[in-house]
């Protein structure tokens, strides 16, 4: 995101603090100082960050409240990932369809799929990683995957996580 703030000591640090408070991770900061700027002018800072799901809005609110102007928010990428393991006849129950149903749900995308093929007629095992932009959506995507798996008689092994 691109931020505009007063050029005075401590401003940048103050703008970065809410990011870590929300559990975010700063990946890059681009800040070019204009030598001709006079004290009291505003400066532009671009930040690339990795935020936990649905913390973008509260971050923007906090920053605005601190007098930092959020000029532009870049493309929001899908950053929440969750992996589950599937066991069963994964190929023969139309793997493409399984993946499509997640991708077309608008809730999450299948980011990775790793499969081990055992002997013919034995059940195969796969690790499937979904990515999404919020905890809520990834939860719903896993629900969907669970329904598809039940239909296809696949076993889903989910991570042990607290319910929200």
């Amino acid at each position: 995101m691109k931020l505009e703030m007063k050029d005075k000591p401590g401003q940048l640090i103050a703008a970065l603090k809410p990011i870590s408070d929300l559990g975010g991770n700063i990946m890059a900061i681009i800040h070019q100082r204009d030598p001709s700027a006079a004290p009291g002018d505003t400066i532009d800072v671009q930040i690339m960050l990795d935020l936990p799901g649905s913390t973008l809005e509260p971050l923007v609110e906090t920053l605005t409240a601190q007098g930092v102007n959020v000029v532009r928010i870049g493309e929001e990428r899908l950053l929440i990932r969750r992996s589950v393991i599937l066991i069963g006849h994964i190929m023969h129950t139309d793997l493409t369809d399984t993946v499509d149903r997640i991708d077309s749900s608008g809730l999450a995308e299948v980011a990775e799929l790793g499969m081990v093929m055992p002997a013919i007629n034995e059940p195969s095992s796969a690790k499937i990683t979904l990515k999404s932009s919020s905890q809520e959506e990834i939860g719903r995507a896993i629900d969907l995957l669970r329904r598809v798996a039940r239909e296809k008689d696949l076993l889903v092994i989910e991570p042990l996580e607290e319910y929200p």
Partner: protein, 328 residues
């Protein structure tokens, strides 16, 4: 304090050995197994009975039955350690009912009666002003019920997760460590005596689910039965699945889960980070409770075994003695 025992198998003998070896202030006045019994109001010579059981398979005189022991009335606490029947809970349910009705405290390791008839049995105990305790039914030696009822009194428990079945945990440990297939690991567990000849109850997650039912009804009064538990066992697991989990620095364990507020009861294989506190080895059990005041608490220990289960039974007996008998 005088105790009478129904059942003289692995658990019953473990209790008898501890009572004879340690100075616990307990005296055993009656014992019955499936084919014989012995009653002596002055106290039985336990070493004799253990020896007779070992050499003849009988603890006492043929013809003396569990009913005779119950009716003898020469005891303060009935210790009920006969086999679990998860369908009807009998004959243990009848035995426990008789003893409670006669105004005797009961301590049991038998999951059947507690899982199927908790409310009715507790009401009966209350009406007769006696105790029914069942620590050994869940997680063997781990004092889980005591921790939940007494140690964490006043807390709201938001979630409980645990490894409740040592047989499954052993199988999963071996599949991970040695790359054994599910059936190889099961065979090994059987040879070591960790799995029954018919392992269905363990590997299909039913045993773990019964323990969740006991906790749900006794700790939270949820009034549920086995049908209310969403159960998936470990019998469909592959070595490949465990290897895939390994790639994520994780492993798979059979986890029993209760979210009391949402009435969620679930037993299923789950992916857990390898350094998660519930990832215990071999036949160990482990339970994590999440609470509002105490935060998170994890208990780890032996979920079965003769002496280990005897530990839970004896703790229940002494609790009754110290809190209910000597005070009144």
């Amino acid at each position: 304090m005088r105790i009478a025992m129904l059942g003289f198998g692995s658990v019953g003998r473990g209790i008898a050995e501890a009572v004879s070896e340690k100075d616990l202030g307990l005296s055993i006045t009656a014992v019955a197994d499936s084919r014989s019994g012995i009653i002596d109001a002055d106290g039985i010579d336990i070493r004799d009975v253990l020896e007779r059981k070992r050499t003849t398979g009988l603890c006492g005189t043929p013809g003396i039955t569990a009913e005779d022991v119950i009716e003898s009335g020469v005891y303060d606490v009935l210790v009920e350690v006969t086999p679990t029947n998860a369908d009807s809970a009998e004959p243990a349910l009848g035995y426990i009912t008789c003893a409670l009705t006669a105004g005797r405290h009961v301590v049991t390791s038998n999951k059947g009666p507690v899982a199927l008839r908790y409310d009715a049995l507790m009401q009966l105990a209350v009406s007769r002003n006696v105790q029914l305790r069942y620590e050994a039914t869940v997680c063997g030696a781990i004092p889980l019920i005591q921790a939940l009822e007494i140690g964490l009194a006043g807390n709201t428990i938001t979630a409980l997760n645990g490894v409740f079945n040592g047989t499954c945990n052993y199988i999963l440990t071996r599949m991970t460590d040695e790359g054994l297939s599910y059936s190889q690991a099961l065979l090994e567990a059987r040879e070591l005596g960790y799995a029954e000849a018919d392992p269905t109850y363990d590997v299909k997650g039913i045993d773990a689910a019964i323990k969740l039912v006991i906790l749900a009804n006794s700790i939270w009064g949820l009034n549920v039965s086995l049908d209310d538990v969403d159960i998936t066992g470990i019998d469909g697991l592959t070595t490949d699945a465990l290897a895939l989990a390994e790639d994520l620095d994780c492993t798979i364990r059979l986890i029993g889960e209760i979210i009391p507020e949402k009435r969620i009861l679930k037993v299923s294989p789950r992916v857990l980070s390898k350094d998660h506190s519930l990832v215990v080895r071999d036949t160990l059990n482990a339970v994590t409770v999440e609470t509002d005041m105490a935060g998170e608490i994890t208990l780890i220990g032996r979920g079965a075994g003769s002496r280990e289960t005897a530990s839970a039974i004896i703790a229940d007996i002494l609790f009754i003695r110290d809190c209910y008998v000597e005070r009144t």
